[in-house]
């Protein structure tokens, strides 16, 4: 091993994580048909040190799909359906109401219960009770928000998911992982050479990325469970653009070992590289379609960089993008219906969405240097890198372009976001 590997203890990792300024999120724009909802303070939640109800409210608000009703003046606070003044909430045009309570258990843990109520029908839509420790307040609140979001919108919530991104501060690069709301950032990798293209394994336990610590791009797979990492591709020339297959056993990567940048399939342990493209052009940025059978990629085989699709098993290659002279970084939604990519228009690089069935395109962002898009696992939001105030920052936009969020870290350059998968637990 030519590089030096050091795993520092958990305490140090936590200390470093908390010392970093966290991502702060600012929301602009609003979705259509926002659901009016009141989230009441949970009875007794003060014992936790932070309010579950505040975190739930912030999650729902950030999604852009709810209109939060002022709920700070309710006294006494209801924790049971029978205690709710439905008439009052009906007058305030509430569709839904969230009530809850927290109690300390004999073993020192806590129990948090909540109920989601249908105001017009004056009944309960659902409710769950969680047992938690004081360290699990945020995780529990995100689970509650996920429950509410799914019941009311029909789409699965992403508040419990995580995001990865690269922070550059002076000469130091860090691969960080945070909750989807930007809180709780932890550093998985620190280096004095660039890190790029993080990609989550389908089960959310590993990140593949490109690191330049050997003075050239090399692809690694990094376990977030053990902190161990493994070289996936370190061939002569450049190794880059990792994309996981649906089963997490293989990666599509771009290698230049045989001349030119070409797409290969390789085992996640670095075994059996198999060449997939065979052109004298640039072929890069592979991304698996959700069925695992085809790969979208960027190629300049037609004279300018455009998006193409090929079958993993070989066969003909179809050109997907036609408008413009620079279309790159394809990603497909999890339902396989929408392709997003970065398009150059004049001197601007913006995020575009293409409905694969109707061929309709929509420009989703209005930045100058938008890049590296990543779908939330429910397909409703897209995280991407942009520039603000001369620095890299992250932003998110809803897949219909209506809701926009900006995520920023003080005094650091943030780039290369990747939204992690759903976590099953």
């Amino acid at each position: 091993m030519r590089y030096f590997l050091a795993a520092i203890g958990l305490l140090l990792a936590l200390a470093c994580g908390s010392a970093q300024a966290q991502l702060s999120i600012e929301i602009t724009g609003g979705g259509a048909n926002q659901i009016p909802i009141g989230v009441l303070r949970f009875v007794g939640e003060e014992v936790l040190g932070q309010r579950i109800s505040d975190i739930v409210e912030a999650d729902l608000q950030r999604s852009g799909r709810f209109r939060m009703l002022f709920s700070g003046n309710v006294d006494p606070l209801p924790s049971e359906v029978a205690q709710v003044n439905f008439g009052d909430w009906k007058n305030r045009n509430a569709d839904a109401l969230v009530i809850g309570s927290v109690v300390r258990l004999a073993d020192g843990r806590y129990e948090a219960r909540f109920r989601l109520l249908d105001v017009p029908k004056q009944n309960q839509i659902g409710g769950v009770a969680f047992t938690l420790t004081a360290q699990q307040v945020r995780a529990t609140a995100h689970r509650i928000a996920d429950f509410i979001y799914e019941k009311l919108t029909g789409d699965r919530g992403v508040f419990s998911t995580r995001i990865a991104y690269v922070v550059k501060q002076g000469p130091r690069y860090e691969l960080q992982i945070a909750d989807a709301d930007g809180v709780g950032a932890q550093t998985a990798l620190a280096s004095r050479e660039p890190i790029m293209s993080p990609a989550w394994s389908p089960d959310g336990t590993r990140l593949a990325y490109v690191s330049f610590e050997n003075k050239k791009p090399v692809v690694y797979a990094h376990s977030l469970v053990s902190g161990q990492r493994q070289v996936v591709a370190n061939f002569k020339g450049s190794n880059s653009a990792p994309a996981w297959s649906a089963d997490g056993r293989q990666l599509a990567v771009v290698l230049s070992k045989d001349g030119g940048s070409q797409i290969y399939l390789i085992g996640a342990d670095g075994s059996n590289p198999r060449r997939l493209t065979n052109s004298s052009s640039i072929d890069t940025e592979p991304y698996f379609a959700p069925d695992g059978q085809s790969i979208y990629f960027t190629s300049d085989r037609g004279g300018s960089p455009q998006i193409y699709r090929m079958n993993v098993g070989g066969g003909e290659v179809a050109r997907i993008s036609f408008d413009g002279s620079y279309n790159v970084s394809p990603r497909v939604s999890h339902d396989g219906k929408t392709l997003i990519y970065i398009a150059r228009d004049g001197g601007r690089f913006q995020l575009k969405a293409l409905d694969l069935a109707s061929k309709q395109t929509q420009v989703l962002t209005d930045g100058q240097h938008d890049e590296s898009p990543s779908f939330a696992p429910n397909g409703k939001m897209i995280l991407y890198a942009t520039q603000a105030g001369g620095r890299g920052s992250l932003a998110a936009v809803s897949s219909d372009g209506r809701v926009k969020q900006r995520l920023s870290v003080q005094a650091a350059d943030v780039r290369e976001p990747a939204w992690g998968p759903f976590i099953n637990n």
């Binding site: 795993a7 047992t131 938690l132 791009p217 020339g237």
Partner: protein, 179 residues
């Protein structure tokens, strides 16, 4: 709104079927033992770049009066062809490598910051490959030269101006011990 009501009432109906007056007490109580995926990584992996190997270079490579001390080739936007003005430079390096069969060279292709980072890796690779191909056509053994790309990741100049961009669209030739 209609969608909400439809979903909500459907859910309410379903909940109604399943619920009893004590539904809340029967509500699922889950032990919040977070899965591995939601735990923080167990530690920071810190990597230190490889140290340069001992300098074995002949002083001719560093002599500012010798053409071999010049190592950079510059490109136009989105282009990877080596301009004619750089051919004498490549010929000098090809001669040196041919006469010093143990010498090794790393060619690093670089791009300006515009566009996709990964596409720029491929574009920088094309630039580096072009230099390598020209050197081998001039008689250099392929094994002496490795072409890699740094894409837009290691800019020499960091302002968003054309003057700066043109310095970053570059191929660098480094000899063993220099990287």
């Amino acid at each position: 709104m209609k969608k909400f009501l439809a979903v909500a009432s459907m859910v309410a109906l379903m909940a109604g079927c399943a619920s009893t007056p004590t539904e809340e007490s029967k509500a699922t109580v889950e032990d919040r033992t977070p899965s591995t995926a939601v735990q923080p990584p167990p530690g920071i992996t810190t990597v230190t770049p490889t140290a340069p190997r001992a300098d074995q270079n002949a002083s001719v490579l560093k002599d500012p009066n010798n053409i071999l001390s010049k190592r950079s080739i510059y490109y136009d936007y989105d282009k990877y062809d080596v301009k004619d003005e750089y051919k004498p430079l490549l010929q000098a390096h090809a001669r040196y490598l041919s006469q010093n069969r143990n010498a090794k060279m790393l060619i690093q292709g670089n791009c300006d910051e515009r566009g996709s980072r990964e596409y720029n890796i491929a574009l920088g690779q094309k630039r580096a490959d072009g230099i390598k191909k020209m050197l081998t056509l001039m008689g250099v053994q392929e094994i002496q030269v490795e072409s890699v790309s740094l894409g837009e990741e290691k800019p020499r100049c960091t302002e968003a101006t054309e003057a700066c961009y043109s310095q970053n669209r570059r191929g660098d030739m480094l000899y063993g011990g220099e990287y």
